[in-house]
Symmetry: C2
């Protein structure tokens, strides 16, 4: 029941502050990925903890930039470190990295993502956290990296899923456990319909 | 005294897990900007709250990517939203933006940073939070953006300051209040000396 309340909080926020552009773009930069409502993130983090209660999780993995805040707030309820995959090599990154390719629809570019080999190990049970699931490119890239490390994908926690795109199917095909808190069935005509 | 303990925690971590490259690069990707020790961030956030106790703060501003986690964790102690400046225009960003230029030493590039005009207003009192202060490029860019919005810079909170670089002087020249939790006087010969 607490979970239902939390999801309602997020869904209400999407309805009130989300802006639909075309039939597939949802702008939630008011509270999720430009301005951040940290108290809402706390509720989302608690809900992820409920959904994955009893699952052995040793690390949370996300991807820069918009997943980082949610991953950090969520990690407080799991008492595990966060690792975020980087989109560019810098002198701050080690030379020994796991690497995958991710296509960004919102920026219309294909880019490499990197995780230092120091921070993912074979005995890690990794929870992937991200703000959005659409076509699943980011989730696939992170699962690829976890696979390269020989680690285990414990699950995937998503704040907002656009179910009418390909992400869910791709994740199901890989057999990973997916928990999305607000699942959007359709945005046709600018109207948000939850599943 | 709590503050002293917190700072010791961060300084010990820098000594134990930081890696000095050359005389000026400090890699702390083990706990700060690739893998993130969220419980350490909680202590840093509490310390920022102590340092800026009684200061009117309505918003925390940071810059993607490595400032986001620290800003979100810190925001829990101030009960204000976080806004993070973006480094690239995307379809998720509004067309009406404040914009500034920032040079990244670690990536050796000059890039634009953007904040939607929706999320910084004239009556905002803004606390800038970032993981590092070195040459002050990011802090200057964020102060520039706050100025464009007609908002007030309430202060700047930094986890690790490299005092032997130009950042502190630039911020002092602007008359802003700077609180750095671990101030490094020198890293010559690979040895970290705190101020």
């Amino acid at each position: 029941m607490g979970g239902m309340v939390n999801m309602k909080l997020l869904k209400d926020r999407i309805i009130n502050d989300g802006r639909v552009i075309g039939d597939s773009i949802l702008k939630v930069d008011n509270f999720l990925n430009h301005q951040i409502d940290v108290s809402l993130f706390n509720e989302i983090g608690k809900e992820f903890k409920k959904r994955f209660d009893g699952v052995n999780i040793t690390k949370i993995l996300t991807i820069e930039s918009s997943g980082i805040g949610l991953a950090c707030i969520t990690a407080q309820y799991f008492n595990v470190p966060v690792v975020f995959a980087k989109k560019a090599l810098s002198i701050n990154l080690d030379s020994e990295v796991y690497q995958s390719k991710v296509f960004s629809f919102t920026k219309n570019t294909l880019y490499n993502v990197f995780v230092s080999k120091r921070y993912l190990k074979q005995d890690d049970n990794v929870l992937i956290i991200d703000d959005f699931l659409a076509n699943g490119h980011a989730a696939m890239g992170l699962m690829d990296i976890i696979g390269q490390a020989g680690a285990n994908v414990a699950g995937i926690g998503i704040a907002i899923e656009k179910k009418f795109q390909e992400g869910r199917k791709k994740i199901m095909d890989r057999g990973a456990r997916l928990e999305s808190l607000a699942i959007i069935e359709s945005m046709a005509g600018g109207k948000i319909v939850f599943a």
